[in-house]
């Protein structure tokens, strides 16, 4: 291809860039039909360049990531605060997020499929998922980091793995729930079609289950990625006492900038984070969302068709079209090229079945043995740890079960207050935004970015503000929790308010209802189920936030508010494992029980009474 010869490339680039860039800008900023129409003449080379750049960036990031991971482990991490290093740090963080996402996706597909296809396994697996989703995973952070660093003492890999697993545990549960529910809700006619047409298990997955769950999966993937940044930044900036477990990334960059009081770097990090969130949304999720529209089971009238400028670009690329053709060709002819034994098995499925059944039985047996062993080992270890903790505080002042319970109460008060505070301001604002079509369209992207922005990055700044206002940290750390959790509530309320049927407001107009009446009789009941969903998510987030916000190192100070979160951090720093185990277990158990007996019941009430699709 002479087109890519060096001279002609340079020529073309120069003659091209001046046109291409404004076009691209126009496409990004004013992505309307009109602009697209005017851009009909394809800026072909610009498009190909864009695609090539994207591919190069992808490969570069992967290489960078592997270099970083195989690096020898070093205690002293030096973070360079110069602003031009920031993109590299951001990319490293991004790579961690995506690595965790890949693991989450794999876990989701495997776990969800097993649960959907095996009735007996499902009875255990789904409640288990429920428990995992409720548990504040950050409680396990210190323990996990210590364990993995000990496991891989010489490589950075252990620390990286701890970080990625942490993000994974923050991402995975809602994805798995969504996938499992989608697979279970596949219309029975489609299932029967698959059976009648003799689909294999793989074919059912590939042609039925994956497409049927695509919409939910994509949506939850976006949510998960956004939620993952929270865990990412906490992890990257993790230090415990004198130990430095930080990783080079945007989280550690921010904490270093705050530590050094480097304002330029602080703002730079915040800006970089925002840019990353927007870019990931535009370049990764938007195209996928648009592409996934084809998997909608029903066409709903009035749906705004989602658009993506990146996908528009990709569609124009001939290069990508070629690659796609090539891939598809190889996919289609796969049947003919299969090796003889495989073909034989295809023609005589009974051999398959026998083999599969045998494998399945072996797998199930070993899984059972393994789980049993883990349960017994783990249970015994845990029992020993938990009984090692004294019931009451000892005379020497070291903590006992009574301290844990007291701390649990303190943290409970804090999280409840945080959630309530969040609801108090978001309820009127959210309803107002949601009621106005104009404002909800304007605010939607802002809220989306704000919700994805990891609050812990802002904690140190908030602490400075608290100092300045002279608010004691025991109370002030509630503000930190609000910072992280309010967005979930706002998001849901806006969604609920924009779903209030037009009939209701017309009815209110006709009967001349006063403003308070409208709120009491229409807005609040309509929004209630959404509000509840927001509160549940926020409460879960608040418990996670206790661990980062009750024990905070900022500006050379260590701030401690008495609560379960700070006890967990302190116990880890001091190597007090009985206390650590007791605190983590108490927190997990308490949150799970709270969900079961409070939130779930309230939710059922909301469903029964205030759901609009009765």
């Amino acid at each position: 291809m002479t087109l890519f010869g060096a001279t002609s490339l340079a020529q073309l680039t120069f003659s091209f860039l001046p046109q291409t860039i404004p076009r691209l800008m126009a496409l990004v900023l004013f992505h309307t039909d009109k602009v697209r129409q005017s851009l009909k003449t394809p800026a072909a080379l610009g498009v190909e360049l864009f695609v090539l750049c994207a591919a190069a960036a992808l490969i570069g990031t992967i290489v960078l990531t592997f270099q970083q991971w195989s690096r020898p482990y070093s205690q002293a991490l030096v973070i360079d605060l110069s602003l031009w290093r920031l993109p590299k740090y951001t990319l490293m963080s991004l790579a961690r997020g995506f690595a965790a996402y890949v693991i989450s996706l794999a876990f989701t597909l495997i776990y969800g499929s097993i649960a959907a296809h095996h009735r007996r396994a499902e009875k255990v697996m789904v409640p288990l998922l429920d428990v995992f989703q409720a548990i504040p995973v950050l409680g396990f952070l210190p323990g996990l980091v210590l364990m993995l660093v000990n496991l891989f003492p010489h490589r950075q890999f252990g620390l990286e793995l701890a970080c990625i697993l942490m993000i994974f545990t923050g991402q995975v549960w809602n994805m798995t729930f969504s996938y499992h529910a989608s697979v279970r809700n596949i219309p029975s006619a489609m299932r029967e079609v698959a059976a009648i047409q003799h689909f294999s298990a793989w074919q059912s997955f590939r042609w039925l289950e994956l497409p049927a769950s695509m919409i939910g999966l994509v949506w939850n993937s976006m949510m998960s990625m956004a939620g993952g940044w929270f865990f990412l930044t906490v992890n990257e900036a993790f230090t415990l006492g004198d130990h430095d477990y930080r990783l080079p990334g945007i989280g550690s960059y921010m904490s270093e900038a705050i530590y050094r009081g480097n304002h330029a770097a602080m703002y730079g990090a915040v800006a970089a984070m925002i840019v990353m969130i927007i870019l990931v949304d535009q370049i990764v999720w938007r195209p996928i969302v648009v592409w996934s529209q084809r998997f909608k089971i029903e066409e709903q009238a009035g749906d705004d068709e989602a658009r993506s400028w990146v996908l528009t670009l990709f569609h124009r690329s001939r290069l990508l079209a070629r690659v796609g053709q090539w891939l598809r060709r190889n996919d289609k002819d796969s049947n003919a090229q299969l090796p003889a034994p495989v073909l034989h098995l295809r023609r005589h499925p009974q051999h398959w079945l026998r083999l599969l059944r045998l494998l399945g039985r072996l797998g199930r047996l070993s899984a059972m043995v393994l789980t049993g062993w883990l349960l017994i080992r783990g249970g015994w270890g845990l029992y020993k740890l938990l009984t090692a903790l004294p019931l009451r505080q000892t005379a020497a002042g070291s903590a006992g079960w009574s301290t844990v319970l007291l701390a649990l109460g303190a943290s409970f008060l804090r999280t409840s207050t945080a959630v309530l505070l969040g609801a108090v301001w978001t309820l009127p604002v959210g309803i107002w935004i949601g009621r106005s079509r104009k404002w909800s369209q304007r605010f939607q992207p802002v809220i989306q970015v704000a919700a994805s922005f990891p609050a812990p990055m802002l904690f140190p700044l908030a602490v400075l503000l608290l100092f300045w206002l002279k608010i004691p940290f025991t109370i002030g750390c509630i503000a930190l929790m609000v910072l992280g959790t309010q967005w979930y509530i706002l998001f849901n309320i806006v969604a609920g308010a924009s779903a209030i049927p037009h009939d209701f407001t017309e009815c209110a107009d006709v009967y001349r209802m006063s403003r308070p009446q409208r709120w009491r009789r229409i807005y609040l009941p309509c929004v209630f189920p959404y509000l509840l969903t927001g509160l549940i998510t926020a409460a879960g987030g608040a418990w996670n936030a206790t661990i980062v916000s009750e024990y905070l190192q900022a500006g050379g100070h260590t701030l401690i508010a008495f609560g379960l979160g700070s006890i967990i951090s302190k116990a880890t720093a001091a190597g007090n494992f009985p206390l650590l185990a007791a605190s983590v277990i108490s927190m997990a158990a308490f949150v799970v029980l709270l969900n079961r007996f409070f939130w779930k019941r309230l939710y059922r009430l909301a469903e029964a009474r205030y759901s609009l699709n009765a």
Partner: protein, 444 residues
């Protein structure tokens, strides 16, 4: 060699859930022979869909056995395709891809597969829609895709599960006659139209009597509670069939009689002696699952037609299946507003009075009539003995379930609440899940 049936079930019973769960099908025997069109006709809930799925191998029977060509069926019947009521198309695949999917596992090369797909799309008249997605198509077009897909596998037995029920009346009729032309071998104006040579028999499920008579050679009439085969009729209406021909109407009449005999046995209007349970409580009886609105509506219809109608003409006027119309008539009869000597529906004097009254008089009359029914006397007695004359729903449902073992108690309870509320006899609070006696009714 004796021609063995393509598909057969012997002594099949199907139960869903555990041992004491509801029986869907009981002791059913059925053969589908080569070269016939068989219709399964019955009201909803008679297990006809379940029977089809047992024959195909989608559901394993609790007892009994399914056979394919005389051999016990393992897995899915190899020579069967299904057309579904709700189409069952994959929305993410185009028409062509949906049909193509059906060739999965068949040993066809690329070109053979493409030809087969094209031919089947031609047969159902979908040329030009190959690249369309199902959501772009109307219901009728969707079902055409469903039929094309079923034909593409080259089945010997084509099963159709209420294939026209999800369509509007006009579309259903046009598709129905097209299907009829297809398998009575008349290519109409479409010269491509041809069925795969492998196709030998068709089994079609329907709740419409006319549809069965129009399409089938053999009609299997099924009954409910639990699902069973009532009678099998040979349909010798000559081809080409026309709805208004005498032979057609005779066949329809014959089927009506078979169904009516089960649903409306000749019974005395008011039982002479009120039977009692051992505990001294009135004995509840099953209630048809219909609304008071439907009962009154049907009475109005009868009144508008001079107070006396043929039951089939009543059915002709409604969009419901015959079984449901019968249920409404039966309810009216239980309440004493209607009388049904033979196949006639009469408005009684009581019924006439009720229709003449205003809403409050209607309620009062209905209340009086309800209290002649064992079920309502039973429920009233239960409530009178309860504290505050209130009882949790579970308790009432359980009391009814003990005495009416064959009933779907939740539906029955719905009917009790619906009728009782309208008559201001009973009250029901969804918040507390409690049934209570209307204060007025307590005094009666």
């Amino acid at each position: 060699m004796v021609d063995t049936p393509i598909a057969e079930v012997k002594n099949v019973t199907v139960q869903f859930g555990n041992a004491d769960a509801r029986i869907i099908l009981q002791d059913v025997d059925l053969k589908i022979n080569s070269g016939e069109v068989v219709a399964l006709l019955g009201p909803s809930g008679c297990g006809k869909s379940t029977l089809l799925r047992v024959m195909v191998g989608l559901i394993a029977p609790t007892r009994g056995q399914a056979f394919a060509h005389g051999r016990a069926l393992v897995g899915i019947h190899p020579g069967v395709s299904i057309v579904f009521q709700q189409f069952g198309l994959f929305p993410w695949l185009t028409v062509q891809e949906n049909v193509r999917m059906a060739l999965n596992g068949l040993e066809l090369d690329q070109r053979g597969a493409e030809e087969r797909v094209k031919q089947c799309i031609d047969t159902v008249g979908l040329d030009g829609f190959e690249e369309a997605y199902p959501k772009e198509l109307s219901g009728g077009m969707k079902q055409r895709v469903g039929i094309a897909r079923a034909l593409a596998r080259g089945p010997e037995l084509l099963c159709m599960d209420e294939p026209f029920s999800a369509l509007d009346v006009f579309t259903a009729e046009s598709l129905r006659s097209e299907v009829y032309r297809l398998w009575s071998g008349k290519p109409a104006d479409n010269t491509h139209a041809a069925l795969p040579s492998s196709l030998k028999s068709v089994m079609i499920i329907t709740h419409l009597i006319e549809e069965a008579v129009f399409l089938a050679d053999r009609i299997v009439v099924m009954g409910t509670r639990p699902g069973h085969i009532r009678q099998i009729l040979h349909n010798d209406v000559p081809h080409p069939r026309e709805y208004q021909s005498p032979a057609f109407l005779r066949m329809v009449q014959q089927l009506h009689d078979v169904i009516t005999r089960e649903q409306l046995p000749e019974m005395p209007v008011a039982p002479s002696a009120q039977p009692q349970t051992p505990g001294g409580l009135p004995m509840p009886e099953p209630l048809p699952h219909v609304t008071t609105g439907h009962i009154f509506g049907l009475m109005e219809v009868v009144k508008d037609h001079g107070g006396n109608m043929d039951i089939y003409s009543v059915d002709q006027l409604t969009e419901y299946d015959f079984g449901y119309t019968l249920s409404v008539v039966k309810a009216g009869e239980m309440l004493g507003f209607l009388d049904t000597p033979k196949n006639q529906v009469f408005l009684t004097e009581l019924g006439r009075q009720l229709l003449d009254g205003d809403i409050n008089q209607r309620k009062r009359m209905l209340r009086e009539r309800l209290l002649t029914l064992g079920t309502f006397r039973f429920v009233r007695q239960l409530l009178l003995e309860a504290r505050n004359q209130r009882l949790p729903v579970d308790v009432v449902e359980e009391e009814l379930a003990i005495r009416l073992t064959a009933e779907d108690i939740e539906k029955m309870f719905e009917t009790v609440v619906g009728w009782g509320r309208f008559a201001e006899l009973l009250g029901y609070s969804d918040d507390d899940s409690e049934l209570y006696l209307d204060p007025e009714a307590a005094a009666v």
